[in-house]
């Protein structure tokens, strides 16, 4: 009994001391989550948005060039810049937080399959409002994919169609809309949001780390794993749905877009600076810190190995996922399985190790 009492006394004493000290003691091995947020914001997120916004500006310039002087050359340039911008978007899509979240950037930029019938009716009537949520499947890069590649069978016919006033007006509205959204998000990040994001370094469900890691995983699970591979290969339906691939009309870019997205995901995990070889504070480092602290296995190794396995499974696929689903869907399903394994490693194991709550109501616990 006395032992228990003295144990309590010492416990109470520890508590009393630690809270009356006033000065927080610096601990050398404490992982600095604020530094991770700074690395994410300054070296990854903002540079990625800058690159995206500049690619979108190029796309807008070539759209203007095309509409003033439609030709197969200007069409080719527009298509090329569309692909550059679409690819750059894959590096920012996962950051659906703050400004991107408030404008629903992903929903207004990359919803596919696009609704070709709706696009045609908008073109014909000239009566549409792209800020309405009901029009998300008639705008963004997938809608441009349809306009630039799917409106007719040959390039010459497409050129004729897009040269008409109704099509070229719609084309310009789509590009303008993408441009507005991208520059709005970038300017907010460069304005006050960067500091809001970095300073919200707490541990609650609404803190930046908690929220962005949830957004990151949501993106990985929904957009990358399910959207790009799972849904077209029929994982969620009775039969494969080959027409749900990204880049359906251009036919040759779905794998390239996928790889851009997967690489961006891996780079974020590793804290790799945008278009650079140097790395900073990251989920990988955080996991390594915790494994050293608790002398347990380093989960980040398993996650990175699994990313590599997914990459090599995807390298077996045709550039055109539509063709892949139609010819040999089993390879798509294999790629899906490899992607799926990392959902478990990240959502179950990593979340537990980092003590990140799956974002739900801040309800009481036991």
């Amino acid at each position: 009994m006395r032992k228990i009492v003295s144990l309590f006394l010492s416990f109470a004493l520890i508590m009393a001391c630690s809270s009356s000290d006033g000065e927080p003691t610096e601990v050398a091995d404490n992982f600095d989550r604020s530094a991770m947020l700074v690395n994410w914001a300054d070296n990854i997120i903002i540079p990625s948005y800058e690159a995206y916004a500049s690619a979108v500006a190029d796309m807008k310039a070539s759209t203007d060039a095309f509409t003033t002087q439609p030709s197969l050359t200007t069409l080719g340039e527009l298509r090329n810049n569309w692909l550059q911008a679409y690819t750059a978007f894959q590096s920012v899509s996962m950051f659906e937080i703050g400004p991107a979240e408030s404008v629903s950037l992903r929903n207004y930029t990359n919803i596919y399959p696009t609704d070709a019938a709706e696009i045609e009716s908008f073109v014909a009537s000239g009566d549409y409002n792209l800020t309405l949520p009901s029009t998300i499947d008639a705008q963004g890069f997938p809608a441009l994919d349809y306009l630039l590649f799917g409106t007719a069978d040959t390039d010459a016919e497409i050129l004729v169609k897009l040269s008409s006033d109704s099509y070229s007006t719609y084309l310009s509205s789509l590009v303008d809309r993408i441009e507005t959204l991208s520059s709005q998000v970038l300017s907010e990040w460069k304005g006050s949001y960067r500091d809001t994001f970095v300073s919200n370094s707490g541990s609650t469900a609404s803190s930046s780390v908690n929220k962005l890691v949830n957004d990151f995983l949501f993106y990985y699970e929904k957009s990358l794993r399910a959207g790009k591979i799972g849904i077209p290969s029929g994982v969620f339906s009775s039969t494969p749905l080959s027409d749900r691939v990204e880049g359906l009309y251009s036919k040759e870019y779905s794998k390239g877009l996928f790889n851009a997205s997967l690489n961006a995901t891996i780079n974020f995990f590793k804290g790799k600076h945008f278009e650079s070889e140097s790395t900073g504070e990251s989920l990988e480092q955080y996991l390594r810190y915790l494994s050293e602290l608790n002398s347990t296995e380093d989960l980040s190794v398993a996650i990175i190995n699994q990313f590599e396995a997914a990459k090599s499974a995807v390298s077996q696929l045709n550039d055109n996922f539509y063709f892949q689903v139609e010819s040999d869907n089993s390879k798509m399903l294999q790629a899906y399985d490899e992607l799926q394994k990392n959902v478990i490693l990240m959502k179950v194991d990593m979340f537990q190790k980092l003590n990140i709550r799956i974002d739900y109501v801040d309800a009481d616990g036991d």
């Binding site: 009492v5 309590f8 091995d29 404490n30 994982v235 009775s238 039969t239 959902v343 109501v361 616990g365």
Partner: protein
Amino acid sequence: MRSGLKTYFNQNTEAAPLAVFRIFFGLMMFFSIVRFWANGWIDKLYIQPKFFFSYYGFEWVKPLGLWTYGLFVICALSALAVAFGYRYKWAIISFFISFTYIELMDKTTYLNHYYFISLLSFLMMFLPANSYFSYDAFKRSEVRHQLIPRWTIDSIKLLLGIVYFYAGLAKLNSDWLINAMPLKIWLPGRYDLPLLGDLLQQEWVHYGFSWAGAAYDLAIPFLLLYRKTRPFAFVLVVVFHVLTRVLFPIGMFPYIMIVSSLIFFDASIHQRILSIVSRWAKIPFNHFGNGNSLNQKTWDSRGFKRKLIVGFFALQLLMPFRHYLYPGELFWTEEGFRFSWRVMLMEKAGYANFKVVNKSTGERFYVDNTDFLTSFQEKQMSFQPDFILEYAHYLKEHFESQGHKNIGVYVESYVALNGRRSQPYINPEIDLTLQKESFKHKYWILPFNDEIKGL
């Protein structure tokens, strides 16, 4: 022995501690419900979801749509009436029923604290908590008693003691004591706390908190019972619960426990509390001090209440051990985990991927859980077998109503427990639609690849 028990049950004691307990309990419950409402949780937890997880045998208890708000109104008003001792008997019955109904509506929100409140209010239905310092006692002299049976107050102490002591017993396992899990996961996550944040990164602190927590739970009922250690014990209660409040998202519970533990103190302290309240609220306090004692013969004729309470406690003492009837690791299967004061013992996370198969054609597809469940429900479902089973049956019904035929539902699931690497959880070869919920062991839970030693 028998005569000892008989004298014990005939002893009387001052009613003041029970009156103070009733007042604080009622007020705390009232504010808990107001807080729950103000946080928007009624809408988020009981109105928004499409599907609700039921307790076995209580499938008929469901949220009432917008009438659910009415249920919370009834519950809050009953709590206030309990506090004031206004038509106490009906108030506490109505509180018990409405509160328990709310808790039964969706298993997702199960908390030991809520279960504790249900049990406590059940117990209070049989206690003369309105004998003293209540509206009832003020108005009706036949209700007014300064002395009440001693066992009625002791029963609340016993329930509190069980909660603490069993919570302590549950901590005597290798994960908690040897590995300092799950505190080793939870505490470093609170790095942003002023003063404590850096300390919480230290391994010795994780062990210190684990061991001190277990010792606290086991010892506190006795320290509170023993007069000489009581003031010290109360300080511990306050320190412990304030600390848990700071470290974990734990709601009103710490305050409820702090206030409840006042019942261990002598009547004189409660008299003082009541006289302060009287002065402040201008209530003629002396009106209640009539020296009358409650006549047990008429109040509890044939000892019905007493027997019921004894049976209630026998059940409470046994329930937490029911997991011995099941094979396998308790933390893994969770068979016998709930209703046993196993508090804060596990950091468990899972992932459950449901596959719907047409058994005649072999066609199959996976389910997007977010189509049916809130993220909170999905999280809770993913590591609890009874949730997984109920959800699988729901999926079968749903897809059958969409015209699918010969449906089988399989799940590929992974669970990580207390920092271990995730491992497969449910046998993926088992068609869950052929399994029925029951109290029997669920053989389709895959075995746990590790061992947790302890009670």
